[in-house]
Amino acid sequence: SAVISQKPSRDICQRGTSLTIQCQVDSQVTMMFWYRQQPGQSLTLIATANQGSEATYESGFVIDKFPISRPNLTFSTLTVSNMSPEDSSIYLCSAGGGSYGYTFGSGTRLTVV
């Protein structure tokens, strides 16, 4: 299964600023996804990152707040824009699917102050 390198692993940011999170996969994958995990909660899907086209966002998430890029089949970024303390969460990317399940990045722990 694929291996994903996600960075940064953690960051503390000022409200009103933006943070871009990167995920690099060691092989070409068709499907890549971004999740948010709020403190003590489960994972919520933010969007599907589509190569060569706009991301597909889940209900409650919008492109202006969470712009996503997917320039090729091994790389994707998620930007958390105009951050507020409510955005403090762990953000995870994942890739893969099929018989071996999905591989996840190690997560980015974001704290907004």
């Binding site: 299964s1 994903i4 996600q6 499907m31 996804f33 999740y35 995990q37 909660q41 489960s42 994972l43 919520t44 899907l45 599907t48 762990i90 995870l92 994942s94 699917g97 018989s99 071996y100 399940g101 999905y102 591989t103 996840f104 990045g105 190690s106 997560g107 722990r109």
Partner: protein, 111 residues
């Protein structure tokens, strides 16, 4: 809407005991998967069971799936301190390719 909504549980067991956790979901699925998460880090895929399977084993893990009841269970046998983690079930709805995660089960194995 989110599927794979297991009752959030916190289990505390002694090393060597078995740990069982459950998961329920609401709609048709293609498969159901279990993941482990250590200390808020990335998730590790444990096991996948397809909708036409009833039971699956992987090492010390045993997963069952009852599609009539829309439920699954994960059994960890002979638990170890290293099994201390949060465990999530996730459903892959038919034709969807997007995972819906349950609330998670926190397991603490006491040495």
């Amino acid at each position: 809407s989110q599927q794979g909504e297991e009752d959030p549980q916190a289990l505390s067991i002694q090393e060597g005991e078995n740990a069982t956790m459950n998961c329920s979901y609401k709609t048709s699925i293609n498969n159901l998967q279990w993941y482990r998460q250590n200390s808020g880090r990335g998730l590790v895929h444990l096991i996948l069971i397809r909708s036409n399977e009833r039971e699956k084993h992987s090492g010390r893990l045993r997963v069952t799936l009852d599609t009539s009841k829309k439920s699954s269970s994960l059994l960890i046998t002979a638990s170890r301190a290293a099994d201390t983690a949060s465990y999530f079930c996730a459903t892959d709805r038919a034709g969807n390719n997007r995972l819906a995660f349950g609330k998670g089960n926190q397991v603490v194995v006491i040495p």
